[in-house]
Symmetry: C2
Subunit: 274 residues, 2 copies
Amino acid sequence: VGFTVEAVGRYGTWLIADSVEVAGPLSEALMSAGLVADLLLDVDTGLGRTGVEPQGALALAAEIAGLPGLRLRGVLAHEGHLYGYGADHLGLDAEAGEASRRLVRVAEGLRAAGHTIDVVSVGSTPGLAASPCVAGVTEARPGTYVYNDGNQLRLGTCTLGDCALTVLARVVSVHAGRAIIDAGSKAMSSDAVSAENGFGLVLDVAGEPLAGVSFSRANEEHGFLTGPGTSSLAVGDLVRILPHHACATVNMWSELVAMHTDGALERWPIVARH
Amino acid sequence: VGFTVEAVGRYGTWLIADSVEVAGPLSEALMSAGLVADLLLDVDTGLGRTGVEPQGALALAAEIAGLPGLRLRGVLAHEGHLYGYGADHLGLDAEAGEASRRLVRVAEGLRAAGHTIDVVSVGSTPGLAASPCVAGVTEARPGTYVYNDGNQLRLGTCTLGDCALTVLARVVSVHAGRAIIDAGSKAMSSDAVSAENGFGLVLDVAGEPLAGVSFSRANEEHGFLTGPGTSSLAVGDLVRILPHHACATVNMWSELVAMHTDGALERWPIVARH
């Protein structure tokens, strides 16, 4: 399943599986290469994506533990369904705790059956305030938290000052009350776009919201800025766009420019994209 | 404006401008480098994106023609507003012709004023049947036509057999009536996604539609296949996904695998992305 045995040996990669159909071929490949790898059991704690259902975890663990080349070390979940709570923070925190407890209970059941479970790993940015606080959780993987973004801002899990990623764009055309910038869907991604929020929040170069300017539409190489505030924009002006979904936006670029607190710039290659 | 004078000299790039604010700095940069470049005037024939309005073209051409380093050679438009006609082919073809005539009239006006206009360039895939047939048009740039895609299929401008681009994906998890594939929004892009059409049309490996299977949802690395047809899918199965927007999907990858008619494969690097 797109698996490179060499990578496991070289990087000490942890593997994840939610079925014996996935774990079986992994085991065979590792055996052939003379390698042993650590594996986490992917458990569905509410998202309904990948992951074995909690009640099926014990049977699956028994099957996987019998496979050579694999060392069952823990359980893992991604509680992405928490995004569905929007700005209902009480409901979100309650379900974040519940989802973690479901995972901890699976870990306890596996230990009772004799498995050594060192890792109980949860992961989501909206659940960050509650999920990791449940006793028994050993790791949190809040992906968007690195940069934050417009989604998190609207959820109330961060402030604008907590957002570390913007796309720097230039006005290239101004006609009939619209300003066209050189950042379109290929610069922003089309994730989380809505009629209300457009393709991103328009900021000035200093990072302050530009009043009366909406990023209402995008084609591949063109962004459409509209609204009364565009009357102050001229060809050549720079703006910053705060993306809705930082993960998707980073993935559109081969390089990030990181700014140190003293203003010094550093270029970071983005290596883990297709 | 993101402009590399060296590229103009090296590749004989044609420049495009819709204002003297853009053309002026181009002229200065070319002069400094001792280069002369050909330029097309970008005219708005109905899209409302970039492009000078037809009635402003003559005045702008006069200004640009006076700038050293630039050689005004023609006019160009992108009639992307034709997508708004959907499957109304009569209306679409009528407006495609009208848009071309607007551009041809601008070219004639510029010639009457003494400019040498060799190029009258239109460009859009839905307008391909009508736009280039207008007398005076010298070039058509139908971008999506290279691959076609789900959008063009729904517009009726191509058949499934005309679609040359799919994403090959593998089923990695099957639980509770859903099959999860290893192609999500980072594989497909989130362009043209809708509740009705999902993230793409699901085909079998031979390219035939897979009955009763919808690509209803995607996260970054995961695609959700749902519907009664998923009961026939197992972990390890391969499917092909026809993307809605070929341009955006190609842009998500660093490499294409091209298949010759004899089945031979060739790897093509995708070089023109950010």
